[in-house]
Symmetry: C2
Subunit: 215 residues, 2 copies
C-alpha cells in the first residue's frame, strides 16, 4: 500500500529502510517475492537498507557496505560478497561464493540448465531465464570437495578444473579457494584430507560441487 | 522454575507438553540444551509432547508417533525416523537418516572421531563421548553422492561400500537408499546421473558423504 502511494508521486528514487525487518518468516518470504518483481517492473531505482543477508542476496544489484557510518565498499553484489572486507558479515561457519553467470543452454529432458563459466559449465536445476541472461547462484564451501584426479562414474554433475589460489586454516577445517575460470570457489575440507593430499597454492585440482542454490 | 518445583514432589514421571513452542529461537536453543542435560541428570522419565523435529532429534530416546489421536508407531527415535510411516513429518525437500553409532576411536591430532558402522567407520568432528558410547548422527540425502568405482585422491573422508536397496523417483531428483552395514543411507541424485550410471536395485556402490551432523 505505502509503496503504491509512493509510486503515484512519480519519484526519482524509492527509499526502503528495513521494510521486512518486523515481519514473520512466511510474510517476509511473500513480500520479498513481491519486491523482487516490483524492482523489475518499475523503472525507479530503489535504495534498500537492510541487515539481512537473505534480502541482500535476493534483491540487491549493487551494494553500498556501511560500517559505523562509513562506506567500506561500493560495487556489484557479487564483488562485495566475495570481497574479504565482507567476511565479518557472512559469519565464520562457512565460506560462500556468489556468481552471476549467463545461461548457456537448457536441458528440458532432465529439467536442468547449464550456466557458462568460461570454457566450462555449471549445471543447476532448470531456471526459466533466456540464453545469455545472467543467473545468480551461491555456492557454499561445505558443499564443495576437492580431488587430485578427475572423478569418474560419479553422480556429482559439477566437476570443474581450477587452481588453488588461497588456503585459510580455520579452527576445525581448512578453507581453500580455487580459481575456476576467473571465479573464486571455496571448499571446506578437513585437516586430515589437507595433509594427506598435500594441497598447496598453485596446484591444479578438480572441484566437486554437490549443491548449488539459485538466489 | 516450574520444572524445579515439579521435581521437588519426587514424581514418577514428568509430562512436558510443548514446553518450548512459545519461545523465540535463541531462548529455545538455550532451554533445549538445559532439557538435554536435565534428562541425563535426573532419574525420572520425561514424556515430552512436541511437533518440532529439532526437539525430537535432540531430546527423544523413544518415540510414540501419534496422528488423529491414534498411535502410528512406538520405537527408538532411529527406527521411527527411518520408518516410511514417518516420511510425511519430514517433508519432501530431502530424505535423511538418523543413526546411533558407537564411538570406535578418537583422533586427537585431527580433532575427529570415528564411529563404528559394522566393519566400516564413519568420521565426524571430534565429540567427547567415551569409546563404545553411542552418538546420534543425521545424514541428509543432499550431502550424499554415489559412485561406481572407489573415489581416490579426494578430500571427502567418508566413503562407504553399500548396496542399493530402494529407488524413489521424486519430481526433480531420484532418491536412492543404500544399505551400508545394515543401515539405510539416502542419496539424492539427478535424473541425468541416474540414467548415465544405470543405477539399479542390488548394485554395489560407493557412498560419498560430504557432511554429517551430530544431533
Amino acid at each position: 500500500m505505502a509503496i503504491g502511494r509512493a509510486l503515484l508521486t512519480d519519484p526519482d528514487i524509492l527509499l526502503m529502510d528495513e521494510p521486512l525487518s518486523a515481519l514473520d518468516v512466511p510474510r517476509k518470504r511473500e513480500l520479498m517475492q513481491y519486491l523482487e518483481s516490483l524492482s523489475k517492473e518499475i523503472n525507479v531505482p530503489i535504495l534498500y537498507v537492510t541487515h539481512s543477508l537473505d534480502e541482500l542476496l535476493r534483491l540487491a544489484d549493487r551494494v553500498v557496505l556501511m560500517e559505523n557510518g562509513k562506506v567500506k565498499a561500493y560495487d556489484t553484489l557479487e564483488n562485495v560478497w566475495n570481497n574479504p572486507l565482507f567476511a565479518p558479515w557472512k559469519g565464520e561457519s562457512e565460506q560462500s561464493s556468489v556468481l552471476a553467470l549467463p545461461v548457456y543452454l537448457h536441458n528440458p529432458t532432465y529439467k536442468m540448465t547449464a550456466l557458462s563459466l568460461g570454457e566450462q559449465q555449471l549445471w543447476i536445476n532448470e531456471v526459466h531465464h533466456q540464453v545469455n541472461e545472467k543467473v545468480r547462484v551461491c555456492i557454499y564451501s561445505s558443499d564443495v570437495s576437492l580431488t587430485l584426479s578427475k572423478p569418474e562414474q560419479t553422480s556429482i554433475r559439477n566437476i570443474l578444473r581450477g587452481q588453488i589460489v588461497q588456503i585459510v586454516p580455520q579452527e576445525n577445517r581448512i578453507d581453500i579457494a580455487v580459481l575456476v575460470e576467473g571465479h573464486k570457489v571455496w571448499a571446506s575440507i578437513s585437516k586430515w584430507a589437507f595433509n594427506e593430499l598435500h594441497f598447496a597454492q598453485g596446484m591444479d585440482v578438480y572441484v566437486q560441487i554437490k549443491a548449488i542454490s539459485v538466489v
